[in-house]
Amino acid sequence: MAMYNLLKIAIRNLMRYRRRTLLTSSLIMIGVVFVLVFVAVTGSIKGLLIGQITDSMLGHIQIHKKGYVASIDNLPLTITLSPKAMEAIENVIKDMPEVEAYSARIKFGGLFSNFTETTNIRLNGVVPEKELKTVPLLPERIIKGNKDLQKGSILIPELLAKGMKVTVGDTVVVIATNRDGSVNGKQFVVGGILESVTGPGGRDGYIHIEDAVEVLRMEEMELSEIVLRLKDFGMLQDVYTSLTNSLSGKTNEAGKPVFEIHTWEKLSPFYNIARMIDIMTLFIKIMLIAMVLVSIMNVMIMAVYERMREIGTISAIGTMPGKILSMFLLEGLSIGIFGALIGDAIGCAIIYLLNISHITFNFGRQTGLLLEPHVGIADLLAVSVIVIIVSVAASLQPALKASRMEPIYALRHV
């Protein structure tokens, strides 16, 4: 009851200085709108760009034999996963409902020849059906030729095709050195041309995994990596932890771990750009906090000075310091809640308008990527709670000053 009455007095005091209250609330509202729209837009761009990277080539999580990633530029054929290791990994993955699909790859470097010229190429031997489920944007990257990868055919990067003057249907030769040092070659028909994608693997070619086994003269299939796609990208860290826990116990005869597991973040330099976006968002949030802090503190300090005699009066009447403190804190809280709620509403409206405007942008050679800004309940709540807490915190010093004021001093104030 007392709290209700304190709130009533607080709100009436805010209404008393309507213009000032409105200005302060507007400032908070603008800050909230700015943060929400920024979070939504950058979140959308970040999500799209991460999606492009992970869904075109990288996948969400990769599992290698321990030591592979340290030598990844060499595409080593000596640090591979044996069929037994593959079986152990599959047993773990099968029990994880969060995993949507996985694909095994044999990665190797070789020579690519059109019979007149030769250049080097990085190749991925994959099971096409599994690869397409794991990196579903791969078919979109095939700008010429067949979308499905047949045995005996090769998908080559666009720049390589141009440079080597080969096109779909041409016969080419791939020559590679296997793990024992012997060289082997195999003819392929160009099945498709791949457009480039930003990030590692963006200039890789694809062949069927059985062709890779043949080129490399493997007695049994030895894999370079297993790539996982998750049903919910938000579960990345949970799945990573779960996989690490399940697979870290597997050791070799020397007692050392057999596997290493990496999320896309550890495998792509684009992660640093994503981090920069996060840091920018953090700075924007800090600016919002400063904005709320300064505006509320300013308005509350003014309120205390202007109402000094009132404070003296209610204190003389016998109002306890705690209630005077609450009265001023509630004023700050009310401005904060008001600003946050209006800001939330306007922010959501702007985000909705951006969505129905169908704004597109380009990324690398990807064009027409649709901006779909989205703000989650968690972000909405986080921004609102930050604003409200900061509003109360900003009111604390003026409120304490009011509650600690000696009535004799306050009553003398003119």
């Binding site: 009851m1 007392a2 009455n5 304190l6 007095i9 009436r12 005091n13 209404m15 008393r16 005699r309 009132e310 003296g312 009066t313 209610i314 204190s315 003389a316 009447i317 016998g318 109002t319 306890m320 310091p321 209630k323 000696e406 009535p407 004799i408 009553l411």
Partner: protein, 244 residues
């Protein structure tokens, strides 16, 4: 030694002994009040008079526990008020005292009704029915029933002071302190306010203490203390038939 006199039925509401009050102005200490000794009985209607700077308001602030004397002893309603800390003094004021200010000091965001209700609601936590009964009774007494939903800026100065009187009395305090309560009022309204306070004093047995220059109050007071240079120089029993 005076601590129990009130409770034991000796009927002294206020006992002041050797009170003095010093103010520090820079490095200089100024004595505003010195060696004050007086006793005030319940249901008194008394006034402190004297020229400006004689210490009337300072003394009223000490009696009202708004300020503390530099030395001496002050017992009000059986309590040694010098032993109370800031929160205890606030609680003591809320329980035992009402205040009427020269500038009325109503809370501008509360209606007449809410201003009178404020001490019951925010200080004494009186239940709602009892609160309503007491506020309505006082609104009747001060003839402000028709203005009960108006805000302070919608009523006249005299009406504001009537509301202030009602607010001071609504908690049924033993002591009401009024610093120049008629200074901002015209004669007619001032007499009305004085009469009202006298009626209240007769009805409820509340002690009213004023500090004033106003001859209207001086004439109405039953006891008159004259202060000069921070010292009581005279005490007169007046009979208090000035106006009622």
């Amino acid at each position: 030694m005076h601590g129990n006199s009130y409770k034991e039925g000796h009927m002294r509401l206020i006992v002041a002994q050797d009170i003095y009050k010093d103010y520090q102005v820079g490095e200089v200490s100024l004595r505003a009040l010195s060696d004050l000794n007086f006793e005030i009985e319940p249901a008194s209607f008394l006034s402190f008079v004297g020229p400006s700077g004689s210490g009337k308001t300072t003394l009223l602030n000490l009696i009202g526990c708004l300020d503390i004397p530099t030395g001496g002893s002050l017992t009000i309603a059986g309590t040694d008020v010098l032993s109370l800390d800031r929160k205890e003094r606030a609680a003591f004021r809320g329980k035992h005292m009402g205040f009427i200010f020269q500038d009325f000091n109503l809370i501008p965001v509360l209606t007449v009704y809410e201003n009178i209700e404020y001490p019951l609601l925010m200080v004494q936590n009186v239940p709602s029915e009892e609160r309503r009964r007491r506020v309505l009774r006082l609104l009747e007494s001060v003839e402000m029933m028709e203005q009960k939903d108006k805000y302070p800026d919608q009523i006249s100065g005299g009406q504001k002071q009537r509301v202030a009187v009602a607010r001071a009395l609504v908690t049924e305090p033993e002591l009401v302190l009024a610093d120049e309560p008629t200074a901002n009022l015209d004669s007619k309204t001032a007499y009305m306010i004085i009469d009202l306070m006298k009626v209240m004093k007769e009805k409820s047995g509340t002690t009213f203490i004023f500090s004033t220059h106003d001859q209207k109050i001086v004439g109405a007071a039953e006891i008159l203390y004259t202060l000069e240079d921070g010292t009581i120089v005279d005490r007169k029993e007046m009979g208090g038939n000035g106006h009622v």
